[in-house]
């Protein structure tokens, strides 16, 4: 390729790839974008001696450097985010005083404070940029970022800058506000737990300090001192019992009311026994009792709990389908238009849905025609043309021109909602007894039995020892090590898997994955991905003139297909075309007068035999020349993954597509795999239900809203996500799509967790049994038992941490 620079109105400097290494660029890797660090495919855009992958990135850089915010790039290696395009209209609801009331925190005249959830916040540079918004826009007075919650609190003078402009600015620099989840009302961080923890820690430390003389063997000669320290300990222990430990009592009482046993019951009994014994000791002038152990016990338990809550505070999986829908739509009112929240739409309302927006409820199309992308609902990557009078289902995304439609069903009654509301909730949740509870059920029964038996035995030997013995048995048998081993082992595993891009909702999902024996895959988007580089041209041979024109008209196209064709032609024909002014019809195609048209079948005026194919047609002077077909390609490394998974699981594939790719995927799967094609979302769900009715536990791997019902019915629903912050239907876990090939490793690791837990359980069981042995023979005083108790917890925690964190997991690179 030769160096050939072209200049035009859009791009200031534009040089082909081959010359990148010459000293025009001041950055280390000329093949990755200076702003977003994505690999630059096909064409660099050089600006200010830096290489960018697209105009969007260049614009953000320009915006930042104009306002002297270049320091942004110094804050973090991975600073930029690929910007997305968006229009002011899509944020119009922010300028409507009634609707925006739901989002804003505070308003005084024109000054508004709003807290926005910006899921793309990911590094120090983000904080830097977002807290300097006032430099980018004069109307923004102040902005503060809350990093763990991905929130930005922005104070705006709406006289200068309307809120919708703020949202557009944010979107332009790559932080698209997410209005779907009402994050700001959620308490992701539990202040109460922190206070409980602080109190317990305070009491633990203080009582230990005051008990120090006791440890050294102070005796009744110093009665006054012993009493003082004992009563002080009693005083500080009261808030620990009443406030810090209250959750354990509540949970234990709840379990007793529901006539089940849970782990909190032995813990609660242990706490009460320890406390009661200590109170008796204090009032009978025996010294401070075991208040130090009591406070320490609560302190360690709460640390385990805090650790658990801290691990995954920033992930919210509880999303329903309404998260995909716009919050408000433009409704036609007599002779004006108003913004109407979607829950307030009524049958017969006329609404206008704009490009890229999702149809919120089933409607009849009123415009002449509309192009709709139903990939959310059906899983098919193709666009569907609808004409006036057609029924449009909720969940479709409008591509291209605005469409007006008349509502026939309100949101809550739409087809999608039905799918969702159809008893999809995990009823298994109740029936499913976690392992921990099963063990502790036997455990507590055994402990109570032992306590009872030793009471009876000791009533014959020496009745005066009975309180001591009972307390020792209950304290030493208290399964606190058991209680800690689960949150620590699984909590560590959650954290470790999360770093590899595999996010689980909570620790019980780990146990569920261990129980799964069947894995069902969705095809489109899960096993395959649309590859815009794998293009095939079918039709008449193109003349050089036609190729030149094609390259020219696609140069500034926005649609990914057109761009892909542009780069593909350039690559295969070694050409650098000049831009030609052509008209792009969003969602339909590109027209260069009547000479050349490139676009969908409807756009060029032909029909496609294979309606499922993703393709673009090209015409020359009105005659169809041929079509560019985009093939879906399999994700890499599926074969080893599926072979590894088949060892432990039965596999199946359900797909919404026609069985076109069967030949492609069949060799990958082991013998005996079920393949089901042309399945509607409801059938996918029915298939999962049928499997589970036969006693199977199904892990469903899917990608989109069209799998939502199936993901929800499955014992474990795993959603693949190309982009972790967007498009995550309610599911039990989310896996980064590029890490799919490691799924078998992760499942192995999760199964390994069972083993780690067994070690911890075995350890704490041995400890408890030995302790009980000494306790029932009367050779263990409650004091020693209470010292041993936290020690065993610490050992178990250390063991669990060591076992889970030393295991190596792919990929090496984290994040």
């Amino acid at each position: 390729m030769n160096e050939r620079a072209t200049t035009d109105s859009m791009v200031q400097e534009d040089i082909t790839t081959a010359t990148a290494n010459e000293k025009e660029i001041d950055q280390q890797d000329p093949n990755s974008c200076f702003h977003c660090h994505d690999a630059i495919i096909d064409e660099q855009i050089i600006f200010d001696r830096k290489a960018f992958c697209c105009n969007g990135c260049k614009n953000v850089y320009q915006l930042l450097s104009q306002h002297h915010l270049g320091e942004y790039y110094l804050q973090d290696e991975q600073a930029g985010i690929r910007p997305s395009t968006s229009s002011k209209e899509s944020f119009a609801h922010l300028d409507d005083p009634a609707i925006r009331q739901r989002f804003i925190d505070f308003q005084e005249g024109a000054i508004i404070r709003i807290t926005l959830h910006l899921p793309q916040i990911h590094c120090a540079s983000c904080i830097y940029l977002l807290e300097h918004l006032s430099k980018l826009n004069a109307g923004i007075l102040q902005s503060t970022v809350h990093f763990p919650k991905r929130l930005a609190t922005i104070t705006v003078n709406t006289d200068v800058t309307p809120l919708s402009d703020v949202a557009v600015l944010l979107t332009k620099i790559g932080y698209s506000p997410d209005f779907s989840s009402n994050k700001k009302n959620e308490k992701t961080f539990d202040k109460r737990l922190l206070v409980q923890l602080g109190l317990a820690g305070f009491a633990f430390g203080s009582i230990m300090l005051w008990s120090f003389p006791e440890y050294l063997g102070i005796d009744s000669t110093y009665k006054g001192f012993r009493n003082l320290s004992a009563y002080l300990a009693l005083g500080v222990s009261v808030p620990v019992l009443l406030y810090s430990a209250q959750d354990y009592f509540k949970s234990a009482i709840g379990a007793i009311r529901a006539k089940t046993l849970n782990l909190d019951i032995p813990i609660a009994i242990g706490i009460v026994a320890l406390y009661a014994r200590s109170v008796v000791a204090i009032f009978s002038d025996e010294g401070p009792g075991y208040m130090d152990s009591f406070a320490g016990f609560i302190f360690f338990l709460l640390i385990g709990k805090w650790f658990q809550s801290k691990t995954y505070q920033w992930l919210s999986f509880e999303r329903d389908f309404t998260a995909y829908f716009p919050v408000a739509v433009v409704k036609k009112d007599v002779d004006s238009t108003v913004l109407c929240p979607i829950d307030e739409l009524e049958i017969g309302d006329e609404v206008t849905i704009r490009n890229e927006e999702i149809i919120p409820c089933d409607s009849v199309l009123l415009s002449e025609k509309a192009t709709i992308d139903y990939s959310f609902v059906t899983g098919e990557a193709d666009w569907i043309e609808k004409v006036k009078g057609d029924l449009l289902y909720a969940g479709g995304k409008i591509c291209g021109e605005n469409a007006s439609m008349s509502v026939v069903k309100t949101t809550s009654r739409s087809a999608l909602t039905q799918l969702w509301n159809e008893q999809h909730s995990k009823q298994t949740e109740l029936a499913f007894q976690t392992r921990q509870d099963r063990i502790s059920r036997y455990f507590i029964a055994a402990v109570l039995l032992i306590a009872l038996v030793s009471t009876i035995v000791w009533s014959f030997i020496n009745p005066s020892w009975i309180p001591e013995i009972i307390t020792s048995v209950l304290i030493v048998a208290c399964p606190c090590a058991l209680a800690l081993s689960v949150p620590f082992t699984y909590g560590n595993m959650l954290r470790k898997l999360g770093r590899k891009g595999f996010y689980l909702r909570n620790t019980s999902i780990i146990e569920r994955i261990q129980e799964c024996d069947t894995i069902v895959f969705d095809k489109t988007g899960t096993l395959t991905e649309q590859d815009t580089k794998n293009i095939e041209y079918i039709g008449e041979v193109l003349t050089p003139e036609q190729i030149e024109t094609l390259i020219g008209i696609t140069k500034h196209a926005t649609h990914p297909y057109a761009l892909a064709i542009h780069y593909w032609l350039k690559r295969t024909h070694h050409l650098t075309g000049k831009a030609i002014d052509a008209v792009e019809y969003p969602g339909l195609g590109i027209a260069f007068g009547e000479t050349m048209k490139l676009g969908s079948a409807v756009f060029v005026g032909t029909t496609n035999e294979d309606a499922l194919e993703a393709c673009s047609f090209v015409t020359w002077n009105g005659a169809v020349l041929g079509k560019f077909v985009f093939k879906s390609t399999l994700r890499p490394d599926l074969k080893p993954l599926l072979t590894a998974l088949a060892k432990r699981h039965q596999l199946a594939v359900v797909s919404g597509d026609k069985p076109r790719d069967l030949e492609l995927i069949k060799p990958l799967f082991p013998e005996g795999t079920t393949f089901l094609f042309e399945q509607q979302p409801i059938q996918k769900k029915a298939y999962i239900d049928a499997l589970q009715a036969t006693g199977k536990r199904v892990l469903m791997v899917g990608d989109g809203l069209n799998d939502a019902g199936a993901l929800n019915s499955a014992f474990v629903g795993l959603a693949l996500s190309e982009d972790l912050v967007r498009f995550t239907p309610a599911s039990d876990c989310i896996l980064k799509a590029q890490n799919l090939s490691y799924l078998s490793d992760y499942i192995d690791y999760i199964h390994g967790g069972k083993r780690y837990l067994k070690y911890s359980f075995a350890f704490s069981l041995v400890y408890n049994l030995t302790g009980i042995g000494f306790a029932v023979t009367g050779s263990l005083t409650p004091f020693v038992a209470a010292i041993l108790m936290p020690m065993s917890s610490v050992t178990v925690v250390a063991l669990a941490t060591f076992l889970t964190l030393t295991k190596k997991l792919r990929p090496e690179k984290e994040g």
């Binding site: 306002h67 002297h68 915010l69 320091e71 804050q75 120090a124 904080i127 830097y128 807290e131 300097h132 006032s134 430099k135 004069a138 109307g139 007075l141 503060t144 970022v145 809350h146 990093f147 763990p148 919650k149 003078n157 200068v160 961080f189 202040k191 922190l194 206070v195 602080g198 109190l199 305070f202 430390g205 203080s206 300090l209 005051w210 003389p213 110093y222 001192f225 003082l228 320290s229 002080l232």
Partner: protein, 62 residues
Amino acid sequence: MGMIYIMLIVSLFLAVFFLVIFLWAAKTGQYEDDYSPSVRVLYEDDIITHNQNKNNNGSTNS
């Protein structure tokens, strides 16, 4: 021996003092975001952008 009584009380007050500070910090949300402040402290704005702001007619930033 009398000393130890004083020390006992002093230790109690010292611990209560720290407890109160901790509770205050927890209540005012200082443990919520433990990342952004560490970044924020390193900004060097004032040197960079004062002139620019004046050009923006300075109507707002109060």
